[in-house]
Amino acid sequence: MKLLSTKGYNIISDWLAAKGHHPFLFQEQTWQEIIEGKSGLVNAPTGCGKTFSVFLGAVIDFINHHPDNYQTKIKNGLQLIWITPLRALAKDIGRAMEEVIMELGMGWKVGIRNGDTTMSDRQKQKRQMPEVLIITPESLHLLLAQKGYAEVFATLKILAIDEWHELLGSKRGVQVELAVSRILACHRQKQSKKIEVPEAVLENTNEGAVMVKAKKLNKPTTEDRKLSIWGISATIGNLEQAKEVLLASLKSKEGAAGKIIKAVVNKKIEIESIIPDEIEKYPWAGHLGLKLVDKVVPIIKNNKTTLIFINTRGMTERWYQALLNVAPELAGAIALHHGSIEQDLRLWVEDNLHTGRLKAVVCTASLDLGVDFRPVDTVIQVGSPKGVARFLQRAGRSGHQPDATSKIYFLPTHSLELVEAAALKQAISETFIESREPMLLCFDVLAQYLCTLAVSDGFAPAEIFEEIKKTHCYNQITEDEWQELLFFLTAGGAALQQYDEYKKIEVEEGVYRITNRRMAMRHRMHIGTIVSDSMLKVKFMSGGYVGVIEEYFISRLQPGDVFTLAGRNLEYVMIKDMTAIVKKSTSKKSIVPSWNGGRMPLSANLGLMLRRTFDKAFEMNGRTLVKKERQDNPELSVLKPLFDLQESLSHIPKENELLVEHIETKDGFHLFVYPFEGRLVHEAMAAILAYRISRITPITFSFAMNDYGFELLSDQPIPVDDTNVYELFSLDNLFADIQRSVNSVEMAKRKFRDVAVIGGLIFQGTPGEYVKTKHLQNSASLLFNVFTEYDPKNILLRQAYQEVLDQQMEEVRLRNMLERIQKGNIKIQFPARLTPFCFPLKVDSMRENLSSEQLEDRIKRMQVQLEKI
């Protein structure tokens, strides 16, 4: 079928033309695929019509099938499911879709289904599904937990997954994979039943076998009812794999299904570094950022609306205060936005971003995703964005009009970070963007999914096993693992037969079900894979809600302590009914909560780019730069004094070199190593290296690490030299050495918490049920100990250890690093004193024992001393 000749296409292109638009090439390509019933992946950045590529495709297809009555036809059942990772996006997408439907005069309805959907709307949807349903992965699984869910999908034509790059690589992505596998299977069953119907009718009318056969061969009826799966993704390093993961369940003997359709959009991005007036030759993390606040004020004033991205919630609070201190006139025109702020306030901030009433918003990743705020024309990134993709994503929050330029400033938190700005520029010019590694064999998500199916209509293991084996995540699952999981869910593992009342999934005539209503309800309430720390609401004594905060933080406060939340100084009064009661405080001193958010390591891509940038710095070393060079490399030029000092004391590592520095100070003997592979890899490598050295000679170390390198400190000389260094960084026995050196038990304990919550071993109390479930409450670390002692082979426990290897230590990356080091040169240096490269690490390791004021004083003294020499 030729798209251009279809009625649907003509209606849509006329409608667009009337608004002065016309379809982009990638949209037309997508529509063509959709009307042919194919699946695929659209690769397009936000804000250039990606929603319309798939949504209008669905509309065109519908018009083509109902050319005469497409406007009057109503109650068509579900046509399009739109999965979005963010609740906040649903409303805006829904509004955009409704607008189109209204202007085309069609009778389609758009529904939203997520945690905020009211009971009555859910009931309405149950009676009559809208044509378009916008849903989160969690809510889609909740739909699968409803009796008779298969009916809902009978009419479905397209399952679209928006922002697939965000979901891929997380357990929510696995949820999507599972939902796709199930919905496709429901659809296939439904279709095969439908085709059987005419046969039965024919046989009843006794018209003979010939007719029946003829009907059977009549294929086209099934063809146009095929369900297509469409992903929409921003650019990532492994786009092809992203498509394959999403469409894995459609894979046939002929190979992978679907095409990638790329939007050719040449978005201009302007990157500028905010360069401090004075470059410290001895940089350290944590203080420079706020000192540059004076340089931020003019940027805010000279632009329409600025988003200031900061990596941690704690720092956003401090930046907000700092901005108000230096520019009090901005009060009311700047705001704060992060995950702990009360939702109403966040919505207020978002609304005012839309209308352009705010000059600036200080935010965390909470504004990474989501709808476009048109007035935003400038973004400031404070500190390392840790990855190319994230930096691009944030830059893209500004200049959203198709031909506008995105403008992003990079504000370093220490001078060496300026190198990252140079590396980022290069990476972006080469489109060298990180991959998102899809997760494998998440047994916790599978356990949850099986319970979900058991809660609704029950499942037959053989059938579901075939389905999940087709997904990417569970492709490698063994029969044993599957049986083990089923045993765990049906019998609760080994038990004292006659004294055990374990009950969860029960088997009735081969169908696995959860029949207990309370258990089913509890399961429904816990569907999801995002495990948060237990949070307390923060409320004023006089009433009025401020936000939420980790219980862990509050539990360390004494009544009378003052802390900062949502830009306000609050005095802690008491905890009552899972709520922290506070009152306003005028105290100047306050504690800024340190949220337990995972600190992201530097990405492999950015690490590589950094090493290349040092190549360039090395090349510039020791000579005077010409003007052109200075213009082309502003960051490296201003850092020249720092690099000159580094080279004169030690060495600037080139791309294929690993720098190792032996330095002796009054604290002891230091060994600094700079692989530039992110803090997680460094943490593991430091432990492995320490272990390997201690086999040469008995020696103990303390460690410090950051994203650039790590430090081993000892009270005796560290025996690392040319003769043994390659061996110390060898790949041989890596796995065994990891087991012996890294405290993987402690790491697994932390991972186990998420696994246990997702896998249904821990129920986080729900507000109303608090007292009732008290006897069922349990801490993850206790469970971990109990399983370790009594059921060490437990499948969920094993998963926790696997996650430690994959995520906590980034084992693959660790191996790649060691391979790279083996192929390159290791440069061992013996600087007479601390070098610019090691200084930030040295400061980090001092941090632990000193208060912040003491630390600042000491560092200043050290800097003065070092620079004098």
């Binding site: 609760g492 593992g493 004292l496 469970l783």
Partner: protein
């Protein structure tokens, strides 16, 4: 035989066992707290697959303590049972028959919510508030003790643990016996229990349970 350390209070000798209980030599009484019997069963009944081996091991440990100390009676300082009745309690009843002549005293704790009849059936003597023997008082939660000026108190409830800190931010936490000036707190007998970290002051004795031994602080 498990590892024991003697501890003297008011001229009485108390043997602290690494298996989480105390044997009072003069009176031949085995003292323990926070058994939480039926806790695994309670969880399992609700579809949470806690390994039932925990319960089995707790029971076996109790038997081995009874066999090695041969007490004349047993005092349980509260939280003997975790919650409502379940089949693990039936297992306990069967077990009780094997020790039918052994008097068991239970000082009620906040978890002990079973019906009176049940305790009667299990032949357990109930003490609602506290139990006094000579100079010694047994109470579940020390803050509920109504005998303020006299005697030394044995209590449970908080499942005490002590944290040992090492260099480089390393720390390990172990369940412990706590002996203050006026009162002692026993570790939870059951291994399926969380802990509360205590900060001992000078002059107080803490005995940490480290694997099969006891380390005194």
């Amino acid at each position: 035989m498990s590892f024991v350390i003697p501890h003297r209070i008011y001229n009485n000798t108390f043997l602290l066992s690494a298996d989480r209980c105390i044997f009072w030599e003069e009176e031949k009484i085995l003292i323990l707290s926070d058994l939480h019997l039926g806790k695994t069963g309670h969880f399992r009944k609700a579809g949470i697959a806690i390994p039932q081996a925990v319960f089995k091991e707790d029971m076996q440990r109790l038997v081995s303590q009874l066999q090695s100390f041969k007490p004349r009676q047993v005092i349980i300082i509260g939280d003997m049972f975790h919650s409502e009745s379940n089949k693990e309690h039936e297992f306990f009843l069967k077990w009780r028959q094997d020790f039918a002549s052994l008097p068991i005293h239970l000082v009620k704790g906040n978890h002990d919510i079973l019906k009176k009849e049940w305790y009667a059936l299990a032949d357990i003597t109930i003490h609602t508030c506290e139990l006094l023997i000579g100079d010694f008082v047994f109470v579940h939660d020390v803050v509920d003790c109504t005998v303020p000026d006299h005697g030394y108190i044995f209590s449970g409830h908080i499942h005490p643990a002590v944290t040992i800190r090492g260099l480089g931010k390393q720390s390990l936490s172990f369940p412990c016996f706590y002996f203050g000036m006026r009162y002692a707190v026993l570790p939870a007998f059951s291994k399926f229990t969380g802990t509360f970290t205590i900060e001992p002051k000078a002059g107080e004795n803490v005995f940490a349970l480290v694997k099969q031994t006891i380390i005194s602080f």
